[in-house]
């Protein structure tokens, strides 16, 4: 294929954006590893939880990440199952993005993906606050 790499002709190489993103992700993971979110208040407070008393879809995300970093998948799942499911998706997305940039293929994501993600997250957010399903999905 004679397709040029993304970034050819520009000042930045094709790997600069994926590398930057990966670096910041690693940095964030390091922060989570260093400061245990299981201790109450270690990462501040959650405004939406305080205000509404409901767990937003991200509730438990930090704890889940910390558990995953320590290999405790069951604990992570108990904290935030949606996030645990999304982590491999996010990683795969990064890989796909980098490969596309390398091959010069378009990196456009059809908005359907965003809409579906939004719908799934909203449903998850609602379900985890209901008494029936809240046990399994709750923070």
């Amino acid at each position: 294929m004679q397709r040029p790499r993304v970034g050819v002709g520009t000042a930045r190489p094709w790997w600069s954006a994926p590398a930057a993103l990966a670096a910041s992700a690693v940095g964030a993971l390091a922060l989570v590893a260093l400061r245990d979110p299981h201790e109450p208040g270690s990462w501040g407070l959650c405004p939406s939880l305080l205000l509404t008393g409901w767990a937003c879809p991200a509730c438990g995300g930090l704890r889940a990440t910390s558990d995953l970093l320590h290999g405790d998948i069951g604990g992570a799942w108990a904290s935030n199952p949606l996030w645990v499911t999304l982590v491999p998706v996010v990683v795969a997305a990064w890989v796909v993005w980098t490969v596309r940039r390398y091959a010069g293929r378009p990196t456009r994501v059809p908005p359907v993906v965003g809409v579906v993600l939004l719908a799934v997250t909203v449903v998850f957010g609602v379900l985890r606050n209901l008494p029936v399903t809240g046990g399994a999905l709750g923070p």
Partner: protein, 222 residues
């Protein structure tokens, strides 16, 4: 894709497959073969009156990538010769491969389906109402909604504002037709950021006033 409708003035001659296409630089007919690519086997666009932007937002949703040939969305005859000349630079794999418009150009389509739209192909010019940049508006709205429904506030609110502005501008230039959606995303983003700022301000004030002293880790110094 060899059903050529004799009543269809814009249909590709004899379906246009079988490698009969002499390359896109030499279009005798106005914009013929690519209409078929708009949807699999879809020659109906050929019959549509050319003023209409026929696609609305559908092509954005995974139609096998015909759309980088930008033009067919508008279908206007003037998109015939000039643009197709530019395509061979991308290896115009159209010869004899009409049905699978998505595949030949972009190889395997990984998880996100057909990549199209937003390609800065120079010839994808609008007749007004092109849907080329519709993505921006949709994402702006999604992020705007998420900032409330998911309590993400400024985290998705700020991108919602940025994308909303870009989408508005794109719509004004005629490269998208969902200005309403863009405005909605923009407004939601601004509200989210505004609320976040108000919330932060309130939090700081309350903290200073000591309203949190009965919770958390302030030591009881009484």
């Amino acid at each position: 894709m060899s059903t050529s409708d004799p009543h269809d003035p814009y249909a590709a001659p004899s379906g246009g497959d079988g490698g009969a296409q002499p390359g896109h630089g030499s279009q005798p007919q106005p914009g013929t073969p690519e209409h078929g690519g708009q949807q699999p086997g879809g020659q109906q666009y050929g019959g549509a009156p050319y003023g209409t932007p026929p696609s609305g937002e559908q092509p954005g949703y995974g139609t096998p990538g015909a759309t980088p040939y930008g033009a067919p969305e508008q279908g206007a005859p003037q998109y015939g010769a000039p643009q197709y000349g530019a395509q061979p630079a991308y290896g115009a794999p159209q010869h004899g491969a009409q049905p699978a418009y998505g595949a030949p150009q972009y190889g395997a389509q990984p998880a996100y389906g057909a990549p199209q739209y937003g390609q800065p192909y120079p010839y994808a010019q609008p007749g007004f109402g092109s849907t080329e940049k519709n993505d921006l508006g949709i994402w702006a709205l999604v992020l705007g909604i998420a900032s409330f429904v998911l309590s993400c506030m400024f985290v998705t609110g700020i991108p919602a504002i940025i994308l909303g502005r870009k989408a508005q501008r794109a719509a004004d230039e005629g490269r998208a037709n969902n200005r309403g959606m863009a405005t909605a995303g923009l407004v939601l983003g601004w509200i989210a950021v505004g609320l976040s700022l108000a919330g932060v301000l309130l939090f700081v004030v309350l903290l200073a006033v000591g309203a949190f002293s009965s919770t958390g880790y302030e030591s009881y110094s009484s």
